[in-house]
């Protein structure tokens, strides 16, 4: 029953109207063969990619992707897409250590994107023929899932492997998983009893995979039920299935506990280090299975309690179920041919209902900070003309006119005869009629320059100040309508150092 459940869940929808799942063994084998098709496809496709991918074994990378996912696949757990990508990249790195890391990552991305069917329309769909009745063939379409992403209770997304993907690792035909698991554990028990530990190791590994497969299968089943609990068939089949799974797990728990005891007992008698390692491994694997099964049993018991209660509730208050609606064909297509106004109303209504509720405004420092740093409001898009500035070509005197330079020189030359304060020089500059501002600037800047002159090649015709001009700062404060600071004492007299202030 469980195997059929998984087959119909992963079978997808047939192209023609389904009149019952194909129960013939041949059809099942066909479908099982198809499970390897995605794995081979990627290896074949790599020849068409740009660049040299020869060195990467895509099949091996895909299998390790499934193995890694499985290692993290507890009950509702899985592995984050990023961690999985990193893990695959590392395997790729082992295949091609001299290639750049970027290429390893790209190989990993291609593998993941393929297995997760991320590209639009890239589902793994395979047609096959089914024989029904006497000699009548019908075409069906089988959908294969290898990995998929699921949202967990805490809102994170995890990658999980499907039951069929686990089959790829085990390499077995499609059989009833519960039976297969039981058989494997019985075999394991036998090997342990007989002391055939090498075989036991191999068997334990298969048992581990079967256990993971079973847990995946049942938890998927439970998830489907819980998801749309309003639409599940309440004829009692669901509860029967859960009961059967519970019983299976109880049986497993007993067998595993017994095996555990035997192994621990034997561990005392074995002294060889190699054998002890094997024993420890076996004990670990069995304990892993026990943990997994306990967890699943817990889930099942919870489901057993909640489902009848839910059933009772529905008699009084049928829940809003998730309707299957074809957004493409039934909404987008008709919407696009609506006239503007009606389309606008419809999309507004859809938007509001999709959003659900307005986010409450949370005033706290972080949000305030975000609000302050939010991008500025958009402005209407008219392009504003940027003024092209007209720039005159710079003359040899910069922007200073010849008259201004001459006037400044005259003012500053007076300091050859006697020293003068900057304030005095500036007031003289203010009395100049032509290019007054330029003269003021020249006088001021020259005085400043003279305070800390730097050796520089000078062109005589540019000099506004006498060579020997120096400015001294002696504490007087400049009182000037436009400038502040020190009232420098400017002196261009030669020889006498420490002259009058």
């Amino acid at each position: 029953m469980v195997a059929a459940m998984s087959a119909s869940e992963t079978d997808g929808k047939s192209v023609d109207a389904p009149t019952g799942t194909p129960s013939s063994r041949e059809a099942r084998r066909q479908r099982t063969l198809l499970h390897t098709a995605p794995i081979h496809a990627l290896e074949t496709n790599k020849a068409m990619w740009e660049g040299d991918w020869e060195v990467y074994d895509m099949r091996r990378l895909q299998m390790s992707a499934i193995e890694t996912t499985l290692d993290h696949q507890g009950l509702e757990g899985g592995i984050s897409r990023r961690s999985l990508s990193e893990a695959i990249a590392q395997v790729a790195a082992q295949m091609a250590p001299d290639r750049p890391r970027a290429q390893h990552l790209e190989a990993a991305e291609r593998v993941l994107s393929h297995l997760l069917n991320e590209a639009s329309g890239s589902e793994f769909l395979y047609p096959y023929q089914e024989l029904i009745g006497t000699g009548f063939w019908r075409r069906r379409l089988h959908s294969v899932k290898v990995l998929d992403q699921r949202q967990t209770e805490d809102g994170s997304l995890v990658v999980r492997a499907s039951a069929e993907a686990i089959n790829l690792l085990i390499g077995a035909l499609d059989v009833d998983i519960a039976d297969a698991q039981k058989a494997e554990e019985r075999l394991l028990d036998q090997y342990i009893q007989e002391g055939r530990f090498t075989e036991a190791q191999k068997s334990a590994e298969r048992a581990r995979l079967r256990s993971a497969q079973y847990v995946t299968d049942i938890s998927t089943f439970l998830r489907i039920i819980r998801q749309d609990i309003g639409r599940v068939d309440w004829s009692g089949e669901v509860l029967d299935e859960i009961k059967r799974a519970s019983q299976h797990l109880e049986e497993r728990a007993r067998d595993e506990a017994a095996m555990h005891d035997v192994l621990v007992g034997k561990l005392d008698t074995i002294t060889e280090p190699d054998q002890r390692v094997v024993m420890h491994d076996l004990i670990e694997i069995i304990m892993g299975c026990q943990r997994r099964h306990r967890g699943l049993h817990g889930l099942l018991m919870r489901a057993e309690e909640e489902i009848p209660a839910e059933q009772l509730r529905q008699r009084f208050a049928p829940p809003a179920s998730i309707a299957s609606i074809s957004m493409g064909r039934d909404v987008l297509d008709p919407l696009l041919v609506l006239p503007r106004k009606i389309a606008a109303d419809l999309t507004a209504g859809f938007f509001e209902r999709l959003m659900g509720v307005r986010l409450p405004e949370i005033i706290d420092l972080f949000h305030l900070f975000d609000a302050l740093l939010a991008p500025r409001r958009e402005f209407p898009e008219d392009e504003r003309d940027v003024e092209a500035l007209e720039l005159d070509a710079e003359g040899v005197n910069g922007t200073f006119s010849a008259e201004a330079i001459e006037a400044a020189r005259q003012i500053l030359d007076t300091t050859r005869v006697r020293s003068a304060r900057l304030s005095e020089l500036l007031s003289q500059a203010r009395r100049v009629r032509v290019d007054r501002d330029q003269v003021i600037d020249l006088v001021r800047l020259s005085a400043l320059w003279a305070y800390a002159p730097e050796p520089v090649t000078r062109h005589l015709e540019l000099t506004t100040m006498p060579d020997e001009m120096r400015s001294i700062r002696d504490g007087h404060v400049l009182s000037d309508p436009d400038y502040g600071g020190d009232d420098l004492l400017v002196d261009a007299r030669v020889a006498e150092v420490g002259g009058d202030g």
């Binding site: 998929d148 805490d154 997304l157 039934d330 659900g356 409001r377």
Partner: protein, 245 residues
């Protein structure tokens, strides 16, 4: 009057108003959610209070307690508000384009009924959805014989025509997407959806890929989907009636 019951009902509603919170992240939330699903009295109390607040319970699952605001409720977040809050003077066309973009995003994530049922998760970038919508619109253009709108009857312009008129991407000198292009419309919608816990960003860089969250599946599969379906059905009926006259 059981005050504790009322208080807890209020708590659950508060949790429901936080779209990025998940039951797995908060024990109290998880417990209240469980109680809602199993205890009929609690269920009725919560729904009554919610209704009083202008809210309805869209759906519940292990993955969340999903509320929807009734039209006109203070909790409603309208397309107009969205456009006003985020910048431009919202014209009718601007709102229509953003609303259309939202429908297109949802249709891209869940094209078929099966995708909603099975909670399929496939990533999408703004570019992907634009390409998809453009393709559908181009298809319509090919099928229509007389697509150009009469000058004196602009109200008859169909939504697809409006979309194709809009530039796809307006390149700015520093190669960022300008504010006007279709791609920036999708950027804005996806960013909003991310903020509201309806999608989640997966990859970084210029072309961010988003995946749909359970919240989107639920809102589409319940209130939003129903509304669209019924509105379109009503429109079809009205059209048929006018044609018969």
């Amino acid at each position: 009057m059981d005050e504790e019951l009322l208080r807890q009902a209020g708590r659950l509603i508060q949790f429901g108003l936080q779209p990025r919170l998940h039951p797995g992240q908060d024990r109290e939330y998880k417990e209240l959610l469980s109680r809602f699903r199993l205890d009929l009295e609690f269920d009725e109390t919560v729904r009554a209070i919610a209704e009083g607040l202008g809210l309805e319970v869209a759906a519940t699952s292990d993955l969340g307690f999903f509320l929807a605001a009734q039209p006109g409720s203070v909790f409603a977040y309208t397309l107009g508000t969205f456009r006003r809050e985020r910048g431009t003077a919202a014209s009718v066309d601007d709102r229509l384009l953003h609303g259309l973009a939202m429908v297109a995003i949802v249709a891209y994530f869940y094209p078929n009924a099966r995708d909603i049922e099975h909670a399929e998760i496939h990533p999408a970038t703004a570019r992907d959805v634009d390409r998809f919508l453009r393709g559908v619109c181009e298809d319509l253009k090919r099928k229509q014989k007389d697509p150009d709108v009469l000058i004196d009857q602009p109200e008859f312009e169909q939504a697809w025509h409006l979309y194709l008129r809009h530039p796809e991407a307006v390149e700015t000198t520093d190669r960022r997407r300008a504010q006007r292009g279709a791609l920036s419309i999708f950027d804005r919608c996806l960013t909003l959806l991310d903020e509201r816990g309806l999608v989640r960003a997966q990859k970084d860089g210029q072309d961010v890929a988003y995946v749909p969250m359970e919240r989107m599946r639920v809102m589409v599969g319940s209130v939003a989907g129903h509304y669209a379906y019924e509105t379109l059905a009503r429109h079809r009926r009205d059209q048929q009636e006018t044609e018969l006259k």
